[in-house]
Amino acid sequence: MIPVIRIQAEDFDLNAEVAALTGGRADIGAIVTFAGLCRDEGGRLTALELEHYPGMAEAEIGRVAAEAANRWPLSGLVAIHRHGMIKPGEQIVLVVAASAHRRAAFEAAEFMMDYLKTRAPFWKREHLVDGSTGSWVEAKGEDDKAAERWS
């Protein structure tokens, strides 16, 4: 199982990613997808700007994916992270985990997201409705705690 890792400015398509992973197979029983979307924070934001560290982003997500593949019997694993300007309602990140059984697929997807949040080199900055550039989003302690669950 070779994980699919992509860092891109373009949007992604849930059906297409799932189809690429399952096409022609009859041994997959469970597919869990996670899509992270940009929120407008109660109408405060016009966009989130995502800066990333090219090269390291792919490498780090690849390491997280390899760890997931090592922990759970996965039939397929996809992780796509966008960068650049993303508007409220648009997709930011996608994880797809497929396995024979549901528990592995759920856990692997949740593990991927908890680790992406704390280890993938991406930084979010707010763009506000008054046209100004807001502040950098602060990392949340709860995200570190979520990631620690798996260690």
């Binding site: 800066e51 490498a59 992406l116 949040k117 930084w123």
Partner: protein, 97 residues
């Protein structure tokens, strides 16, 4: 000159530094090449030296504990040895996902 000093001087070299998010903004550079002083062995040593280079660096590393580092695309702790790294990155805690 002792044997040790000779070896240390031999390892002095040019290193690429890259900065992201508010670390980049405070320093005012996205990347730069620096001549690493011979005594700079760890990430913590490098941070200490960078802070002597001006206000922007001081502001970026004002709260040293919060700035993260990576050597050649891998997360490292402040006590990590730079050794023969070719690219070192400094950035705030990640907020992707």
């Amino acid at each position: 000159m002792t044997m040790t000093e000779t070896l240390t001087e031999t390892r002095t070299r040019t290193l690429k530094l890259v900065y992201f998010a508010w670390v980049r903004e405070r320093i005012g550079l996205a990347e730069e090449k620096v001549e690493l002083p011979a005594e700079t062995r760890t990430i913590a040593d490098l941070v200490r030296w960078l802070k002597t280079r001006g206000e922007g660096y001081e502001a970026a590393f004002d709260n040293e504990a919060i700035v993260r580092a990576a050597i050649d695309h891998s997360h490292v702790k402040p006590d990590a040895v730079i050794a023969d790294a070719s690219e070192i990155a400094f950035f705030p805690p990640m907020t992707g996902g």
